[in-house]
């Protein structure tokens, strides 16, 4: 399965990764090579096989629906590139 440059640009936007124009051709080639390589999976008949969700047979544990954490705003914000008034700060999103 070959992908074209437009498809790569579209996926890159979906993934919110800026790819400079001059790198798009090389990346298109690499992604095509990888997708062609995984294409061999289609030769295998998987009709009726359950998709794996967990390698260990176990049911998800449950805990009491109670607050177990909190009151650590300083710790949460400690690594933020920009914070203000106890919040993360980002570029303006509403005019």
């Amino acid at each position: 399965m070959a992908v074209d440059k437009d498809t790569v640009a579209r996926i890159a936007h979906l993934a919110r990764i800026r790819i400079p124009e001059e790198q798009q051709d090389a990346l298109t080639g690499e992604l095509t090579e990888i997708l062609n390589w995984v294409e061999q999976l289609s030769e295998l008949d998987t009709e009726g096989v359950e998709p794996m969700t967990s390698v260990v047979a176990m049911s998800l544990p449950q805990r009491k629906d109670a607050v177990t954490d909190g009151n650590c705003v300083d710790k949460v914000l400690k690594n933020a590139p920009e914070g203000a008034h106890g919040f993360f700060a980002v570029p303006k999103v509403v005019e």
Partner: protein
């Protein structure tokens, strides 16, 4: 004092208990070894003060009779484990300056057992790689060189810094993580022991996530017994990781009886791949002969879907990575590259913050999860993953453990295979199947290649049978008598 760095963890434990040397002396020797080996680029962050303070605290605990199972043992921590207030990078530019305000469960368990941290080791960016060359902090040099050659070689990856640090006698052991072979392959390339436990045996909490259904932490050491001791210190149930398994951690050392008579060892014919170097085949045959001589029964088995494991992995792991790495957006931690709008800031930050291999995998993952391709790629891969796991289940009705080579070659040159992603992926051809099935595996050094480089043998086990793996691995270790030292310290 330099000899202290050549002890195994087991020997150091005994020496400390007898009072032959203090934790301070042991740790000081290792701090100096870390400095002496800086040319390897094995560490991203060294923490000598923390190490020496930790050693003093350890000596104080021992005086009070409160020594833990790893009391005073100096360890290196892969820079994928969050460590409180110590820079944690995952080998990526995007985590610039990140100092976690919490400690990963695995490292916290090690400190509770008395171990001491020497620093944080280099790795492939977000653990994506088999050479350590994708690290933002540069490649790591393997402490080994080919006989008569000065060409620097890769230590393998992604836990390349951990493997190099242990092989170069900078640390008595190191933590690694294994998603598709990232503990076992570098262990093989550097001539040390690396154990990937069963999925769920060690908590993933506080470890930077790559592919959550595959990631598993494990020990990297210089002997099988050391791996047993260190795994005991890492493993255990953790309510903070819902996939952590709530079964007691056995005494792994007690399992190492030295007697494997009657034990059945499977040899999967599908691992005899085309183009495998004769010396890889040779070390595998040698391993078979050693186990036979120790009284094990050798059984030919088939794992028919083996050849589909790598492509399956390269759908599932990138899919999970694309989702896990969505959190690096320039808002909560690490790098931020300014932009005119929020989207612009996300795209600029992620475009600059991620390296080429990480971008490739996020894009592949985004593609195979996107509308129209989800069934054809992602669900297809999950179905084949079931078939691969079923292969192992069927095999384990006939055998106790499986023996294979760890990697299809010895260590290669720094910069080799960099222009061909798929050629690089083939490094993990023998390690990925067991990862997809969540099974435990151990690599141990079995001999040297014609060029004087270490070659590894891999044993794969049944779920939560790490004890049996260690038992068989120790028998192989005894037979192999691997005593060679890497050039940097010999």
């Amino acid at each position: 004092m330099s000899k202290l760095t050549h002890l195994t963890m087991t020997e150091a434990r005994d020496g400390l208990a007898k009072g032959e040397f203090s934790a301070r002396e042991l740790v000081q020797a290792h701090v100096e070894a870390v400095e002496a080996c800086r040319s390897l680029n094995a560490f991203i962050t060294e923490t000598p003060e923390q190490a020496l303070d930790g050693a003093d605290a350890s000596d104080a605990r021992r005086r009070k009779g409160e020594a833990g199972a790893l009391e005073g043992i100096p360890l290196a921590i892969k820079d994928l484990f969050c460590t409180f207030d110590v820079l944690t990078t995952a080998g990526s530019h995007i985590l610039d300056g990140f100092k976690p305000q919490y400690e990963s469960t695995v490292s916290a368990n090690l400190w509770s057992a008395g171990a001491v941290m020497l620093g944080k080791t280099n790795l492939d960016e977000f653990a994506m790689g088999s050479s350590n060359m994708t690290s933002f902090y540069g490649g790591v040099e393997n402490p080994w060189r080919r006989t008569g050659s000065n060409e620097p070689l890769v230590p393998g990856g992604s836990s390349g810094g951990s493997a190099a640090a242990v092989a170069a006698r900078c640390a008595m052991g190191a933590t690694g993580t294994d998603t598709g072979g990232s503990i076992r392959q570098p262990a093989a390339f550097c001539g040390i022991v690396g154990l990937k436990p069963t999925y769920g045996r060690c908590s993933r909490w506080g470890t930077v996530a790559f592919a959550s259904s595959l990631d598993q932490a494990g020990p990297m050491t210089r002997s099988v017994r050391d791996a047993a001791i260190m795994l005991g210190g890492m493993a255990g149930h953790d309510a903070k990781d819902s996939t952590s398994v709530n079964t007691p951690v056995p005494d792994y050392e007690a399992a190492m009886t030295g007697d494997i008579r009657g034990l059945k060892v499977g040899i999967p014919k599908e691992y005899r791949i085309d183009g495998m170097p004769a010396e890889i085949d040779g070390v595998w045959q040698q391993g078979i002969d050693w186990l036979k001589a120790a009284g094990a029964e050798i059984v030919d088995i088939s794992l028919p879907h083996t050849r589909y494991a790598l492509p399956t992995y390269y759908i599932i792991a990138p899919a999970e990575a694309s989702s896990n790495l969505a959190r690096y957006d320039g808002v909560r931690y690490g790098l931020r590259v300014p932009g005119d709008s929020l989207d612009d800031m996300y795209e600029a930050t992620r475009g600059e913050g991620f390296g080429a291999e990480v971008k490739r995998r996020i894009l592949i993952g985004t593609y195979v999860l996107s509308a129209g391709y989800y069934d054809a790629y992602y669900n297809k891969a999950r179905r084949i993953r079931t078939l691969i796991a079923n292969d192992f289940k069927a095999a384990y009705e006939k055998v106790d453990v499986i023996l294979t080579p760890t990697a299809p070659s010895a260590a290669f040159g720094m910069g080799d295979k960099m222009d061909d992603p798929v050629a690089m992926y083939l490094n993990d051809v023998f390690t990925v199947p067991a990862s997809l099935a969540g099974l435990p595996g151990i690599s141990l050094p079995a001999g040297l290649s014609g060029e004087g480089l270490p070659l590894g043998l891999q044993l794969l086990g049944q779920p939560f049978e790490e004890g049996k793996l260690l038992q068989v691995a120790e028998v192989l270790e005894t037979a192999a008598e691997f005593k060679a030292l890497p050039q940097i310290i010999s």
